[in-house]
């Protein structure tokens, strides 16, 4: 089959398409994945067709523009993307997103009656669409991994907001699925790409030895783990009209709606799984711990007025502290502080500082080690969808950092120190802790 034959088939598809309610197709050709031959190769001049699942603050921000999207107008404004479907279990959210997207495209294409963006309550309808190449998932925590897995099984590339998994088992299935189906996966750890490259620069400075031998890392965030307290509940409030509570719950144990459906149900997690993925992903980028070397996770009970502390003891004596570096104000906003034999570097979304200061003035040279470079997280994802190159934070990378968080969180649950063998995906000598590496999901949400 030649490329020209594929183009023909795409045009045939478009001829049957009901994307445009009326009028002549004046927009650039929209290329459905179903019509892509040649392994799904997508010429860069063609748009990637996307579905957006989860339209809360984060998802809508990605779609239409917001502080965290780093692209004015969000994906809907990108010339290289065509939004074809939006999905949320809250009717008002999906209908708002659908209306806005249709308005944006109507204006862009000069077709007043444009209604090519469909709205869905059930994400399975989006995954079943052959014309969706990729999905952006911005979901309650418990849905991130299951839905990413289902999407990749359906042949979709996936951008997924953190936390990417809530159990180590979910992480494993995520990695296994991405590998099996050859899908492009990007975790929403945008600090690797955004913020003027501050995090990448810090990573390169530290990995090129500017602070000497790395000794300690301060994460400024506790790790966390899924440990619902209580497992279920009885309090009940009327489910708001247009809200599919059962689908929101998905794999979680069923409980009546009681007005608490946000990123997560209160009490479902011990520690922090919301912000910690940013912190520990960045730390992982810098430290690059050897997955074959077990990690000692030291638990220290909370002192008066303080939270419990987790310390990860890595190879070569490097210690990651869950708390803040004493006296270093930089690091709390998604960052970390790295202490070496010759100084320290701390970074967050607004600052990059060093002690002594001159550590920052020595530029990274061509012969130094260089990190994977991405100047736009969404841009990197879309480029990788086209080239099939791994993203800057692919499933395996994201899962490794997430697992570090989850196993530290299990130490918080059990209030004791543990030893984690990443290669075996198990704690050493602690069968009880190993029982917390998974949970039994509610059917039919079995992965």
């Amino acid at each position: 089959m030649s490329l020209s034959a594929n183009v023909l088939s795409r045009r045939r598809f478009l001829g049957r398409s009901a994307l445009f309610a009326g009028g002549v197709l004046s927009a650039p050709a929209l290329i459905p994945a179903s019509a892509l031959g040649r392994g799904g190769w997508r010429p860069p001049s063609e748009r990637i067709q996307m579905g957006f699942i989860g339209l809360g603050g984060q998802g809508t921000g990605h779609l239409l523009g917001g502080a965290w999207t780093y692209v004015p107008g969000g994906y809907a404004a990108r010339p290289d993307v065509q939004v074809v479907a939006v999905c949320d279990v809250r009717r008002e959210r999906r209908e708002h997103a659908q209306r806005r997207c249709n308005e944006i495209y109507a204006q862009r294409f000069g077709v007043a009656s444009f209604n090519g963006v469909s709205a869905h309550n059930d994400f399975r309808e989006v995954l079943a669409r052959a014309d969706v190449d990729a999905v952006l998932l911005a979901l309650p925590y418990h849905w991130a991994a299951p839905m990413a897995v289902l999407a990749m099984r359906a042949g979709k590339d996936v951008y997924c907001e953190k936390p990417v998994a809530i159990t180590v088992r979910e992480s494993a299935v995520l990695v296994e699925t991405a590998r099996r189906f050859g899908r492009v996966y990007q975790a929403g750890t945008q600090q690797r790409s955004e913020y003027s490259g501050r995090f990448r620069i810090a990573c390169e400075l530290i990995r090129n030895g500017r602070i000497g031998r790395l000794k300690e890392v301060y994460a400024y965030r506790q790790p966390g783990a899924f440990f619902p307290t209580p497992w279920s509940a009885m309090e009940s409030k009327p489910v708001p009209p247009g809200f599919d509570w059962d689908l929101w719950l998905g794999p979680l144990p069923w409980r009546p709606f009681n007005g608490e459906a946000g990123h997560a149900l209160p009490g479902c997690f011990v520690g922090d799984v919301n912000w910690s993925p940013h912190h520990y992903d960045f730390i992982h980028w810098v430290v690059d711990p050897d997955p074959n070397v077990p990690v000692e996770i030291e638990y220290t009970p909370p002192a008066a007025g303080r939270e419990a502390v987790i310390r990860y003891h890595l190879r070569d004596g490097v210690v990651i502290h869950s708390g803040a570096h004493p006296g270093e104000r930089v690091g709390g906003e998604g960052g970390a502080c790295f202490v070496g034999t010759e100084g320290r570097i701390a970074v967050d979304r607004s600052n990059l500082v060093a002690e002594p200061e001159h550590l920052l003035r020595e530029p990274i040279r061509a012969t130094d080690w260089h990190a994977y470079r991405s100047e736009s997280h969404s841009g990197n994802f879309l480029e990788c969808v086209r080239t099939r190159r791994p993203t800057i934070c692919d499933a395996e990378t994201a899962a490794r950092a997430m697992n570090l968080i989850l196993v530290g969180g299990i130490a918080l649950v059990l209030k004791r120190s543990l030893v984690w063998d990443g290669r075996a995906s198990a704690f050493i000598g602690d069968p009880e802790a190993n029982r917390l590496l998974a949970y039994a999901p509610r059917p039919p949400w079995l992965i």
Binding site: R153, R361, R389, L414
Partner: protein
């Protein structure tokens, strides 16, 4: 041993049930805890309490807990919690309970139980799970299939193969995925013949594309030594799924023969595939790919060229600098960006020398690109060549060279930079060279031997048009020879020279010049210059980085307070005093509060000093 205390407060029919469960971690306590949890399950406690007990039994349950838990597997509100516990309890008892429950349940309960069995990899459950494949409910059949896939082995594989085409339509994909899973396990166990037959079945059939991609990838992983040839065949063949799989598998196969296979395909592929291949070759980092990359670098397709430049950046060497320099002047933004990044990425060979050669001989636009690359690469060895350019060229090239020098120049280059400054034909160039000195001073403000004396010699010989700039350079650094140049300027017989030196002195970063600044503030005839001197002295005296003893700081500020007559000067001094918290500073600001023109500022400074003193006292 540590323990977890969990209080369960549950509402039951208007009443409140309070349960206290002690979960501990060892020995007799563990058994007692399990006993307590089981007593909850056997009581008439509400479901939330029983579910909570199940959650804890996941952690501490043993075979003793199995009967109570298995009784809940058929209880819809509690089945998930019971599975949650049973799934983690080791031993044949839990396996048997889950197997038995398959026959007693239907629908979602049955699907959940099958899933738990799959995660436990209970091979004895294969017959029971096989029977689920015929279930009319696709959720049950799918769960059964996936469980069989996770258990794997000959019997599970046979069951899954037998079910192909016979399961309900909604479970077909699950059966295929389960076959993939089981086949991957066979391959990992070294039984590649079995694995290959399964993969071949799924690759040939009318399976969904994701399954076919995975199956083709599996086939390639079974290929052993034939992998390179198979990858080449897949990439040049008509099957889209096979192509897709070939790229994915090649990514994890470092064999140089695979690299050669990719190279063989590159020139024949269509542009989108060429782009993907170039990315893949780039990732492999094998410089033997360069010739192939160059072969497509002249493609009429800009996206291919862009990918080629990116690949060349990682794979190429110094000999590719001229080609990349030309590409970096492309009018296509993406191509230009890729070529520029490639020039920065190049590692092999004498890249700096090659860029310098371009700097000296290429047309102006390419010279600018060479300078940009040298700067981005941090090539300090190129500084002499850049200095040369500043002296010889004009326009964009000179501007680019000066910008690069701002980043690259070091102490060893200050004398040459000084020469350029004193010889500069116009004020604009002097200003740009001053910017370079400023950047250098930001990075290294303390000039040591032999650089400071050499710079001082050059600057002290500056002719009138460059004198002002020369003094300003002196003021940027902390160095005795440069101080002397400034001091000599202040004593010059020529009024213009004295003024230039005085103005530069007001910007001094060297605390050793504080006495001269104090004198200037006291004696300058020009009120504007006096104000500048006061500002400079306050800045030096109150900067924490200045190497001054507290008494020197306060002494200088007190002197400035005495000479300040303008309100804005007095305010400036008060703000400086506020940054030097001590009793003497406090007395000075309290006294200053008597002056109505600065009363508010004096009060604010007093407050600030008192707060800092209090903080220090804590």
């Amino acid at each position: 041993m540590p323990s977890i205390l969990t209080k369960i407060l549950a509402r039951a029919g208007g009443g409140v049930v309070l349960l206290l469960i002690v979960v501990s971690t060892g020995g007799g306590e563990l058994r007692r805890t399990e006993t307590e949890l089981l007593s909850v399950l056997e009581s008439d406690a509400p479901n939330v309490a029983k579910a909570e007990a199940c959650k804890h039994l996941r952690l501490v349950g043993t075979a003793r807990a199995v009967p109570a838990l298995s009784a809940l597997l058929t209880n819809e509100p509690l089945a998930q919690a019971a599975r949650h516990a049973l799934e983690a309890i080791p031993g044949a008892e839990a396996d048997a309970a889950l197997r038995d429950a398959l026959a007693k349940t239907t629908g979602l309960l049955r699907a959940g139980i099958a899933d738990s069995i799959g995660w436990r990899q209970d091979a004895r459950a294969v017959p029971a799970l096989t029977s689920l494949l015929g279930d009319a409910d696709p959720t049950v059949a799918s769960a059964g299939a996936r469980a069989l896939g996770r258990i794997g082995g000959r019997d599970a594989l046979a069951a899954l193969q037998g079910a192909r085409g016979r399961v309900v339509p909604g479970a077909r994909l699950a059966v295929s995925e389960a076959l993939l899973l089981a086949a991957e396990a066979e391959l990992a166990a070294g039984r590649s013949r079995t694995a290959r037959s399964v993969f071949a079945l799924l690759a040939r059939s009318d399976e969904p594309e994701p399954v076919r991609i995975a199956a083709h990838a599996g086939l390639l992983r079974c290929a052993g030594r034939r992998l390179p040839g198979r990858i080449e065949s897949a990439l040049t063949g008509p099957d889209a799924a096979a192509q897709f799989a070939a790229l994915a598998v090649a990514r994890t196969a470092p064999d140089p023969a695979v690299t050669r296979a990719l190279i063989a395909v590159l020139s024949r592929a269509e542009p989108p595939l060429q782009v993907a291949l170039l990315e893949l070759l780039r990732e492999r980092g094998d410089p033997t790919c360069v010739a192939a990359v160059l072969g497509v670098a002249r493609s009429p397709n800009v996206t291919v060229r862009t990918a080629a430049w990116r690949a060349l950046g990682d794979l190429g060497d110094a000999s590719h600098v001229p080609l990349l320099i030309v590409a970096a002047t492309s009018s296509e933004a993406a191509e230009q960006k890729a070529a520029r990044e490639a020039l920065v990425s190049l590692r092999r060979g004498a890249v700096c020398d090659a860029l310098v050669a371009e700097l000296r001989q290429a047309p102006a636009r390419q010279q600018v690109e060479a300078i940009r690359a040298l700067s981005e690469r941090g090539e300090t060895a190129a500084v002499p060549a850049l200095l040369e350019q500043v002296g010889e060229v004009s326009g964009d090239v000179r501007h680019a060279a000066l910008q690069a020098l701002s980043r690259l120049a070091e102490a060893a280059h200050v004398a040459q930079l000084g020469e350029l400054l004193v010889r500069a034909p116009d004020e604009a160039l002097r200003a740009e060279i001053l910017d370079v000195f400023e950047s250098l001073a930001e990075r290294n403000g303390r000039l040591a031997e032999p650089h400071a004396p050499a710079l001082a010699r050059v600057l002290s010989a500056a002719a009138p048009p460059a004198r002002s700039a020369a003094f300003r350079v002196c003021a940027l650094f902390v160095s005795e020879p440069l101080r002397e140049v400034l001091r000599a300027g202040l004593k010059s017989a020529e009024p213009g020279v004295r003024t230039a030196a005085a103005r530069a002195l007001c910007e001094a970063r060297d605390a050793s010049l504080l006495p001269e600044l104090t004198v200037l503030a006291q004696e300058a005839d020009d009120a504007g210059l006096r104000s500048l001197a006061i500002a400079g002295a306050v800045r030096l005296a109150s900067e924490s980085s200045a190497a001054l003893a507290p008494e020197q700081r306060i002494g200088a500020l007190e002197a400035m307070l005495r000479v300040a007559t303008r309100t804005e000067d007095k305010r400036r001094v008060l703000s400086g005093l506020a940054r030097v918290p001590c009793a003497r500073a406090l007395a000075l600001v309290e006294a200053a509060a008597a002056d109505p023109s600065v009363r508010a500022e004096a009060e604010a400074a007093r407050k600030q000093i008192e707060e800092q003193l209090a903080k220090a006292g804590r």
